[in-house]
């Protein structure tokens, strides 16, 4: 039976929401998750690339949700030169449909409850104080009361708006994306590929993330303000026609990635925002799965602490903000300034950058080397980059 009151209601059962629910429940709170779709993880709106070190703290690695292991990253510049990166740590291409469900199962194991096909419609407020959530379930409008709402509703981030928080993303800080899953390819299963250039993917990149040696997620994200008549689909179709003329498309998906810095406000009295909803994505790579899980774990623990102490005001919940900034938020801010340098580079700079990286032995070539070279000539940013690579040793538990 679903009760009509929980300590915490989490809206959205993506990685951020389910990890928040798990940590809140594990630390003693009663938790209900509401998910609009019929199943967590679908429709998949993701290239499904993650690092081993990013997900391992949260869930035991399970073959069921790993499509392939990635050891090599290949970066290709506008003039077609490529540099290979070998020592960036082990990565995976996931099956998010199974992965997201596994995270929900883990939350359930720790006592959290999930309802699918439950679409949150609004926050319930009494004298301006958030006291619950109104949602639609199978055509019926229901209410659930709670002390804390965790908004994990992804890119849309409407729940935060209902609480009065401005979650709108600027056009240059949204990547507009199209992805195909292609079959009938001939690929190296351990190599993910990235293609850059203002004619290839303005303000973003094209990716090839293999799911097997004959299938891959092939997609594109371009900066919102650079999408005109020629949108992401036109760019991607050109690329696919040239690179994979005989491929079959088994899945077509559209999506948007907020590549901003974290929102100014991610807590208010009785509410916390996590994951894409809080704009916690890596602004350069667009990766948000691990970022959302890290934010979710911090938010879930702070929310449980709030429940234990009976303190639900923004002042208390700000602990989450502080901890997030220390863990990843400050690094994300640096990445956001770096994005301007990196993804909005001229083609000539890109060509030079890849030429330079090509000369570095592939086992010495890392993201740090790449970014440091990319921001050369900007001493302040160089220092920030160096610092961010020192701080990003993530503390958990």
């Amino acid at each position: 039976m679903v009760k009509d009151r929980y300590d915490i209601v989490v809206i959205g059962a993506g990685p951020a929401g389910s990890v928040a629910a798990r940590y809140a429940a594990e630390n003693g709170a009663s938790v209900l998750m509401l998910e609009r779709d019929r199943e967590p993880g679908i429709p998949v709106r993701c290239a499904e690339g993650v690092s081993h070190n990013g997900i391992a703290p949260f869930i035991d690695i399970d073959k069921r949700w790993i499509a392939s292991q990635i050891d090599v990253a290949k970066l290709t510049s506008p003039n077609g030169e490529s540099a290979f990166m070998h020592n960036n740590g082990l990565g995976y291409v996931l099956e998010r449909r199974i992965f997201d469900t596994a995270l929900c199962a883990l939350a359930a194991k720790h006592g959290a409850r999930l309802i699918t096909k439950a679409d949150a419609l609004d926050l319930i407020k009494e004298n301006d104080k958030i006291t619950g959530v109104k949602y639609r379930y199978m055509g019926e409008t229901r209410e659930v009361k709670c002390d804390i709402v965790i908004a994990a509703d992804g890119t849309e981030s409407r729940v935060g708006r209902w609480a009065g928080i401005n979650t709108t993303v600027a056009l240059r800080d949204i990547d507009t994306c199209v992805q195909y899953t292609l079959a009938g390819l001939d690929l190296k299963k351990d190599t993910c590929e990235f293609y850059f250039g203002n004619e290839v993917s303005p303000g973003g990149y094209i990716w090839i993330f293999p799911k097997s040696d004959s299938t891959a997620n092939v997609g594109i994200g371009i900066a919102g303000h650079l999408s005109h008549e020629k949108g992401p689909k036109e760019y991607l179709d050109e690329f696919v026609a040239e690179r994979f003329p005989n491929a079959t498309i088994t899945y077509t998906m559209y999506g948007g990635v907020p590549t901003a810095a974290t929102l100014k406000e991610i807590v208010r009295d009785n509410i916390m925002l996590v994951g894409d909803a809080a704009r916690q994505v890596n602004p350069i790579t667009g990766g948000g799965v691990v970022q959302g899980m890290i934010a979710g774990s911090i938010a879930g623990k702070v929310a449980a602490e709030a429940v234990n102490q009976g303190q639900f005001d923004a002042k208390f919940l700000k602990k989450y903000r502080k901890e997030w900034d220390k863990t990843l938020g400050n690094t994300q801010k640096v990445m956001h300034s770096m994005k301007e340098k990196f993804l909005f580079m001229t083609d000539e700079r890109f060509n030079n950058l890849v030429s330079y990286c090509k000369k570095i032995p592939s086992d010495k070539f890392s993201l740090k080397v790449l970014f440091t070279e990319a921001v050369k000539g900007d001493p302040k940013l160089m220092l920030d980059v160096a610092k961010s690579f020192v701080v990003s040793k993530i503390k958990l538990k």
Partner: protein, 56 residues
């Protein structure tokens, strides 16, 4: 603004850039409330499926 439902993938990208929260989403549908919309065209520019057009 108007959503062409045959093209819309319900991806939520338009919602993220709407400054006035004029766009609502459900499992199977996306709608724009033209009483709230200010015609800023943000949604039209970022829609990856080109599913948004001007007009009511």
């Amino acid at each position: 603004m108007k959503v062409i439902h045959e093209l819309c993938d319900i991806c939520g990208t338009c919602v993220a850039v709407c400054p006035v929260d004029a766009i609502t989403v459900s499992e199977f549908n996306v709608e724009i409330d033209n009483d709230i919309c200010t015609n800023c065209l943000n949604c039209l520019k970022v829609c990856p499926a080109k599913a948004i057009v001007e007009g009511e």
